[in-house]
């Protein structure tokens, strides 16, 4: 009886969200499972093949991220000084930086288990947090939380927290320091330099 009620609740819930788009918790689960399955089978990625990992992230993960929102979140109040052109340049560079970081983390993935925490949301919510947890032997489980926002094309991730540390807002004080020192263009230049040096060290290590 309990199970039947549960099933009915699920049906009701999915009907409420709308049949065309994936619920945010399901989206996170599907993408994580899909990507980690590929990483587990791919020796090149496990051995740190940067290009292959970047391609994987570009094709499977990026479409679900909202980099415009992420950049604005990282900039905070300082974002208001940026012209639309500067903002575009920032989004571009920040996106490269985040994708490189995410890819690096994937090549470090071994046998950790990802647990998807129970998820609840009200039918018309547009901003949610999906909780997962990385479990590994010999350590305390590390929470990995995704913040998603619903827009015209579906649910998009706009922040990720690892053990409570936001991968986006952790940049805020560095960004504002760069802007104070060299203006928005100074920050763009610093990001470009960082991305270029990462790209060259990646080709060298191959």
């Amino acid at each position: 009886m309990k199970r039947l009620l549960g099933l009915l609740a699920v049906l009701f819930f999915t009907a409420g969200v709308g049949a065309t788009e994936t619920a945010p918790d399901l989206l996170v689960k599907n993408v994580t499972t899909e990507v980690l399955d590929i990483v587990r089978k791919d020796k090149d990625i496990q051995n740190g093949n940067t290009q292959k990992t970047l391609d994987l992230v570009e094709s499977r993960v990026l479409p679900h991220f909202n980099f415009q929102r992420m950049t604005k979140l990282a900039l905070g109040r300082d974002g208001r000084q940026a012209t639309p052109e500067q903002l575009n340049a920032l989004v571009e560079e920040f996106r490269t930086l985040l994708v490189r970081t995410y890819s690096k983390a994937l090549t470090e993935y071994r046998d950790q288990q990802i647990i998807f925490k129970p998820f609840k949301m009200v039918a018309d919510e547009t901003d949610v947090k999906v909780r997962t947890e990385i479990r590994q032997s010999g350590g305390k489980a590390v929470p990995l939380d995704y913040y998603l926002e619903k827009n015209a094309t579906g649910w998009k991730v706009y922040d990720m927290e690892v053990g409570g540390v936001s991968l986006v807002t952790n940049y805020r004080s560095s960004f504002s320091q760069e802007i104070r020192a060299g203006g928005v263009d100074g920050l763009i230049r610093s990001l470009q330099t960082k991305n270029k040096s990462s790209a060259t060290s990646a080709t060298k290590s191959k």
């Binding site: 604005k72 979140l73 905070g76 974002g79 930086l97 490189r100 970081t101 690096k104 983390a105 470090e108 032997s137 010999g138 350590g139 305390k140 489980a141 929470p143 922040d159 927290e161 053990g163 409570g164 540390v165 936001s166 991968l167 807002t169 952790n170 940049y171 805020r172 004080s173 560095s174 960004f175 320091q177 760069e178 104070r180 610093s190 990001l191 960082k194 990462s198």
Partner: protein
């Protein structure tokens, strides 16, 4: 004696750090959470130097030499020694349920878990917690205070530095009477902890524009999260 030489060298380096920081003192960026940034950056550089010269290479060797189950056993062993005071801190923070679970962990892991080498308690559903005196003070309402980078210990806040003094006093490993056993275990713990952090190292390297600031801001966010046991009030973001 060789150790005297190392001590003298360390003293010289620390003096150099102190001097640099006095000179760089005016070069702070005005971050309100980091009023002694000049000193902190110098100390960060000092710690980083010690890390890349000694601790990191040893940790890499340790990781390469020992299979994962053995390293997990070492991590579990030290984790078990820490669980008792994690329980005490949970009690001080008014969480008797979690405290009881921590003490239960010590009882189970010290016996069935072969002196803590196996974390049987986690498999039985007694979750491992992370608590220390700094968090307890935070829970009691003591604010962070200034961010400070300590020699060898690394990032702390003023509050967590006071907490650290109590953590060290309560540390079962630091209280072992036999000096050579104590030092061996302390060194093993440092190396084992460092080895566990090696993957994070590479990711931070890739992510950070300014490694010092990235680690500082990450540390502050992490502490805030820990004090609220994973559920801090969400800050207004944009």
């Amino acid at each position: 004696m060789k150790s005297d030489m190392i001590k003298t060298r360390l003293k010289t380096s620390l003096l150099a750090v102190a001097l640099c920081s006095v000179l760089a003192g005016c070069a702070t960026s005005g971050n309100p959470k980091d009023p002694i940034e000049g000193f902190n950056r110098a100390m960060y550089g000092f710690n980083d130097m010690i890390d890349s010269a000694v601790i990191k290479p040893v940790a890499q060797g340790y990781e390469a030499a020992l299979p994962t189950p053995v390293r997990t056993g070492v991590t579990n062993f030290f984790g078990n020694l820490a669980d008792f005071f994690i329980g005490i801190n949970n009690l001080l923070q008014g969480k008797p349920g979690q405290a009881a679970s921590d003490i239960g962990r010590v009882l189970v892991n010290s016996t069935i878990g072969l002196l803590g080498v196996l974390d049987v308690a986690s498999e039985m559903g007694m979750e491992k917690h992370e608590e220390d005196f700094g968090q307890t003070f935070g829970r009691w309402g003591v604010g962070d205070g200034a961010y400070v980078v300590l020699p060898f210990f690394g990032p702390r806040t003023a509050r967590d530095t006071v907490g650290l003094v109590l953590d060290v006093k309560a540390d079962p490993v630091a209280n072992i009477d036999d000096i050579s056993t104590r030092n061996t275990l302390l060194a093993l713990r440092v190396v084992d902890t460092r080895a566990d952090l090696l993957p994070a190292d590479k990711v931070i390297e890739e992510a950070a524009l300014d490694k010092y600031a990235y680690i500082r801001d990450g540390y502050l966010q992490r502490r805030r999260n820990l004090i609220h046991d994973g559920n801090p009030p969400r800050e207004r973001m944009d």
